[in-house]
Symmetry: C2
Subunit: 305 residues, 2 copies
Amino acid sequence: MKKKYAIAIDLGGTNLRCALVSREGTIIRKIKEPTSNDLLNSVLRLTGNLFSDEVLGVGLGVAGLIDRKRSRVLISPNLPGIEHIDFITGIHERFNVPVHIENDANAAAFGELIAGAGKGLSNFVLFTLGTVIGGGFICNGKLLGVSAEIGHMSIDADGEKCLCGNNGCLESYASARAILSKAVSFLEKGGESLLKGYCGGNFYKLTSEDVYRAALDGDMPAREILKTAGRYLGVGMANIINIMSPEAVVLTGGLAEAWDIYVQEAIKETSRRAFRDLYDRVKIIPSTLTGDAGLIGSAGLVFNE
Amino acid sequence: MKKKYAIAIDLGGTNLRCALVSREGTIIRKIKEPTSNDLLNSVLRLTGNLFSDEVLGVGLGVAGLIDRKRSRVLISPNLPGIEHIDFITGIHERFNVPVHIENDANAAAFGELIAGAGKGLSNFVLFTLGTVIGGGFICNGKLLGVSAEIGHMSIDADGEKCLCGNNGCLESYASARAILSKAVSFLEKGGESLLKGYCGGNFYKLTSEDVYRAALDGDMPAREILKTAGRYLGVGMANIINIMSPEAVVLTGGLAEAWDIYVQEAIKETSRRAFRDLYDRVKIIPSTLTGDAGLIGSAGLVFNE
């Protein structure tokens, strides 16, 4: 009898999330807890909470670079030390099922293919637009097992230094962190904006959602900041379209919510820059699974084996 | 009995090249003629010259964007009007064998996999470094059927306008055309360089090979032009390494010959910019098939069906 479920684990950021997922990509149960210092034990405990003999295997999505040959995490900026943890052996020894490990944005792309905006498509690119920018590629109906670190593509060779060491990374211009940092510097310099009222004068409490809200309320500085970030996103999208000739670009993450200003501006810039024949064939659409795409995709890797 | 040969056709530039190629990727016979205005008939005639009942099929490599769903050329900057030619039907009607069509740089990547520098590798990227810059991706031992137009990745969002309409394309900074154009403007402005002596005072006779020769002879302006172009190539290579996490980057085309200055500088810049864990795992190597890679790859597509 075919086992019905997979357990998916999302090691994406501040929370550790774990879900029981069906073959069809439906989340049956979901639990989460704050990320601890003892990651492997947290993963084993949460897995144990959802495990049964109907579980075929475990899929992990990790915010970081994956060594696919050795099924290890090479580095994760948010989870220092994770490169020393052997999740595959640890989970396999305890539960005796296959374990898969993938980058979280790649897993999200696969999730969108199974049960989201990419259903029925063969070739698309996912952009995850949040504090950082990541990506994942679906080619010929399969997840492409590559790094897909599109946020760390330089779009300005002599531009701002990025935390990764490169200059002019897309992430430094088009991420939520970049938008917020531009808004805060504007206010620090004494600029006038509705944003001042949103944070009771404490600029450091602001979020990128506040910037979008102010922009929708007609605040010109907030609009300009979002539009500039959107234009840079368009540079990055055009690059990826010229390289990957996708049928669709699927946008997810908090910033994808800022569709009317940030994304619209990005689409306009993309249309100006990408090869006409490729732009005419691509659709730029929002994800439908949003925050659950990574869990569904990580589970999908188990069934896809 | 398995048919032994494929016919490969290279519609890359000024010449139309045609070859009879074995399953192992050995070129048995090769013919060429200048590209005519009647492309389809030239292709049919050359194919007829090499055709026999031992030929399994025909593979075309075209410098341009390919519509893989409809097996058509969408656009080729060097071969205007090619988008109206239905090679597949034309060749199939005459010879009754399967016909494959691919971008020439993609075909070259596949050729390097079959019989060149990529033999034994599963994941690599080919950069074609000539008058223009192109690319091809091998993933999991297969040619990735995407546009791979890495020369038209913007590495300077507000940079020079490219012929393609985008700004700051890699090709505008790192191609042979870019190098030559920088050298000519330097001379036009009255700059002193060994290059003056190479062309009898007619700057427009110079080639990018002359620039490399002058640089090797110790000419400082030529060295600086090549090094600057190499640095930009490094920006592009780091981008592609961060996106595709290849095992190798294979460099081909005339400029790959300028290894000691242009490529060395590119490697230095790549090492500064790419994710450390990815850079440490990648080897940057010259192609071994050079000009024949596209023919061998186009033939390979026939056997690979």
